[in-house]
């Protein structure tokens, strides 16, 4: 079943003056009441998928019209992450159903891949495809797992040090890494051995929450407790970190755009923050409403998207003027 609604597009464009880059336009899209958008995934066709954790749906916004389509994912669904797979479908980590869910972009057909029957609730978090087309995912209660779409079976593995696996990313070479929030580390998944090898950040108890690879395979990590953005280069095993502006920053989301600029969210500042690794400068894009709580970001050329879970809106920052 698909529910469609033409929503009030929002269109509250704001020109945010920043020191650099010149000016970026910010737009907001109001979602149906109770959606509670968590993660977003901009699709190649211009639409934007988002998880509606508050009501157990996957949504798709057409930014051109403001129309929203909702796909109910199943009984008890509480979706957290969504990504676009190599097959063009939306792949969802659904903590409520303790399952990975695929939604076909054409038919909206929902296929549920439950975790093994004897698996306890994993608190599924996020997913990424490796270079071989296998989906790897995290469960905050102390697991990581894999789903080979060709086979359809789901396997889970105990994470080293137990609870904590949160954000996950694939490097350009196809290698998958995840961040452990409660475990205060990042880890590389060995896809053959199906084990995870811990790499310790230099900042103790930093709260590594999300992780994203840049175009060179360097890993950018949002450190919630430390209020830092950290960079790990697997090539030389070197770390570097930068504290976000403000008295008590809380770094939640991290996303690296196609220009290798780093985008973060800071819950304390109620803002999306851009970090330029070249100049090492931060630029802030505060929300126009209190308690925005953007928990994840993703983008495509010229656009950075996030879900304002606290205001029930999607937000886009346009970094390049449309052609």
């Amino acid at each position: 079943m698909v529910r469609a609604a033409l929503l009030l597009v929002v269109l509250l464009p704001f020109l945010i003056a920043t020191a650099e880059p010149a000016a970026s336009e910010v737009r907001y899209y109001v979602l149906p009441e109770g959606t509670g958008p968590h993660d977003v995934a901009p699709a190649p066709d211009g639409k934007v998928w988002y998880t509606g954790q508050g009501k157990g749906v996957l949504g798709r916004l057409d930014p051109a019209t403001g129309a929203v389509e909702e796909v109910p994912l199943g009984e008890g669904s509480a979706p957290h992450g969504v990504i676009i797979g190599p097959d063009g479908a939306a792949w969802v980590t659904d903590g409520g159903q303790n399952a990975i869910v695929r939604v076909d972009p054409g038919s909206f057909k929902v296929r549920v891949f439950p975790l093994p029957k004897d698996a306890p609730p994993a608190n599924l978090n996020t997913a990424a495809f490796d270079g071989a087309g296998v989906l790897w995912f995290t469960g905050q209660n102390g697991i990581f797992g894999r789903l080979d779409p060709k086979e359809g079976s789901v396997e889970i593995f105990p994470a080293p040090r137990g609870r904590g696996p949160y954000g996950i990313t694939a490097r350009p070479n196809g290698e998958v890494w995840y961040a452990s929030l409660a475990g205060n580390h990042i880890a590389r998944i060995d896809s053959q051995k199906r084990t995870a090898e811990i790499v310790e950040p230099p900042t103790p108890e930093q709260g590594a929450r999300r992780i994203w690879s840049d175009s060179k395979g360097r890993l950018w990590v949002s450190e919630w407790n430390a209020g830092q953005i950290a960079r790990y280069d697997p090539a030389d095993r070197g770390w570097k970190s930068w504290r976000l502006p403000g008295d008590s920053p809380r770094a939640y989301a991290v996303y690296v755009d196609d220009k290798d600029k780093v985008w973060l969210t800071d819950f304390s500042a109620n803002a999306i923050v851009r970090f330029d690794p070249v100049t090492q400068q931060f630029n802030s894009f505060p929300s126009d409403k209190a308690g925005a709580n953007v928990r994840q970001m993703d983008g495509r050329t010229g656009e950075v998207w996030g879900g304002e879970s606290g205001t029930n809106r999607l937000v886009v920052i346009q970094t390049v003027a449309p052609a």
């Binding site: 157990g56 509480a78 609730p121 409660a182 709260g207 606290g310």
Partner: protein, 118 residues
């Protein structure tokens, strides 16, 4: 069954259900008072405690404000919170879908209120 009555006389299976319902929460919360440093506040002794009452934890502004206003956790408030956390405290940093089933909320409240729960 009213929430407070549920505390006095747990529904059948409440202990089991409460533990099961709490399982996903364990990624961030502990009921062991000695366990610190998790992404969420320690929940030992939650009932009767001031909101945002774990001195070791950096809470959302909305919870700090509630605590500053003198609000406390009791069974009824917790029951309502679990139905829709973000509705009770807009802008809450914690993210979870509320429990729609009142019996599940009762079981979880009972589990959290029981000092023996770990």
């Amino acid at each position: 069954m009213p929430v407070l009555a549920a505390l006095a006389a747990p529904p059948a299976g409440a202990e089991l259900d409460g533990a099961r319902l709490f399982a996903p929460c364990r990624a961030c919360h502990s009921l062991d008072p000695a366990e610190r440093g998790l992404p969420g506040p320690n929940l030992a002794g939650l009932i009767g405690r001031k909101i945002a009452g774990d001195a070791d934890f950096d809470y959302s502004p909305v919870l700090r404000k509630a605590g500053d206003e003198g609000l406390h956790w009791d069974a009824q408030r917790l029951h309502g919170f679990l139905a829709d956390p973000a509705e009770m405290f807009p802008g809450l940093w914690m993210s979870m879908r509320g429990l729609e089933d009142a019996a599940e909320r009762e079981a979880l409240v009972h589990f959290l209120a029981d000092p023996a729960s770990r």
